[in-house]
Symmetry: C2
Subunit: 230 residues, 2 copies
């Protein structure tokens, strides 16, 4: 295109992803050094990532230090919602960009107070495509998927479900009002990623959230003991 | 990054968008030549674009020729759902890509039968970021936004709402079960785009759909008479 061959564009994409992977490994080493367990939350816009974080933080903040990095094209609404829970949050605005990258996360982590042996939640830009390819240095990607989005999304956006360790199916309080086949959704997700774990939750009612907290504790312990670091 | 300066990346993006705009104008001229009115439907994944199209086609297909171009990262599920209504549909898979471009749409249009004086619906990849920047040759972008996505999305993803002529607020049958402030959503969309038109619909119950059909008829007539061609 305009003097750029397809091969050249593919090479540029490879360069950008390679550089990002290097920076992600720097982030991962920094997190490990201070015992921070980092999760990268990805989803469509409106799946309920921020509500889920607000509920999680309210329930867990007295047990360990927590901090949040918020990604959005525009606004600092989400960081403000997080700060209202009493934990520190840094907002990153990506402008035209459709995902966070490792460089943004490293710079945001510098601006957070120390959370030694704590939890770092990174809420990515709401997007089922772009964030899949970008490692931020997290221990795991967690894809939040809401019951209102339709069963076929794991097949239509396979990269994101393949890249995630856990699928949180949110808004299960709405199930009685929807035509939504939960079993089929899980089957489709496992077709794309046979190892993906699945939990059903409602950030609004709190249903299922304790199982998510147990998952975090188990996975954080595994990373701390060096068993499952990526 | 890896030998690519920020300035060089910006220049590459400009080249890609410039080339796309040229091809979009070719598409637009081709549509005009055969009296085709084209709409580019954009939304988050799961907002209900395909269900809305299936309902629209069922109600309008006896009045005029209709065809559909379907964009998804993977699968041909949506084209199959459309073909089940009896109108032709071409599926485009974008692979790693997060949006359709004018070149894909031109090639897909070649594969469709003639729809002289008809309607062409282009269903973009579910994504509130990437499709905003890419003109496909459509008369208008229509952003489909569902009541389950939260009021703040027009502020958080402003480019998409700024680029759209119409916001269809879908899934209004779920309003009794949600904490969703319809008036605030509209206020936020108008803050980003004072000229955006707004209709509330339910593709499932059919509520509000006739107003969407009236909007299509009015806008198609305007394009046909040369008043509002983009």
């Amino acid at each position: 295109m305009a003097g750029l061959s397809q091969e050249r564009i593919v090479q540029i994409e490879r360069d950008i992803l390679g550089k990002n992977d290097d920076l992600a490994n720097v982030n991962r080493a920094r997190f490990a050094e201070v015992g921070v367990f980092a999760l990268n939350l990805v989803s469509s816009p409106g799946a309920g990532k921020t509500s889920l974080l607000v509920k999680t933080i309210s329930d867990l903040k007295d047990l360990q230090p927590i901090a949040v990095i918020e990604g959005d094209q525009q606004t600092s609404n989400d960081a403000e919602r997080i700060r209202a829970t009493g934990v520190p949050a840094v907002q990153v605005n990506t402008g035209k960009g459709c995902h966070l990258d490792a460089s943004m996360v490293g710079a945001a982590f510098d601006r957070l107070p120390s959370i030694h042996d704590g939890l770092l939640f990174i809420e990515n830009v709401g997007n089922l495509v772009c964030p899949a390819a970008f490692d931020l240095g997290e221990a795991h990607k967690v894809v939040v998927f809401s019951t209102t989005e339709g069963e076929d999304k794991p097949l239509k956006y396979p990269d994101m479900f393949a890249a995630s360790s856990l699928m949180l199916i949110n808004k299960i309080d709405l199930l009685p009002h929807l035509d939504f086949d939960l079993a089929r959704t899980i089957e489709y997700a496992r077709r794309v990623n046979p190892r993906i774990e699945v939990l059903t939750v409602s950030a609004r009612s709190g249903e299922g959230m304790p199982a998510f907290y147990a998952w975090i504790a188990k996975r954080a312990a595994a990373v701390a003991s060096g068993v499952a670091a990526k």
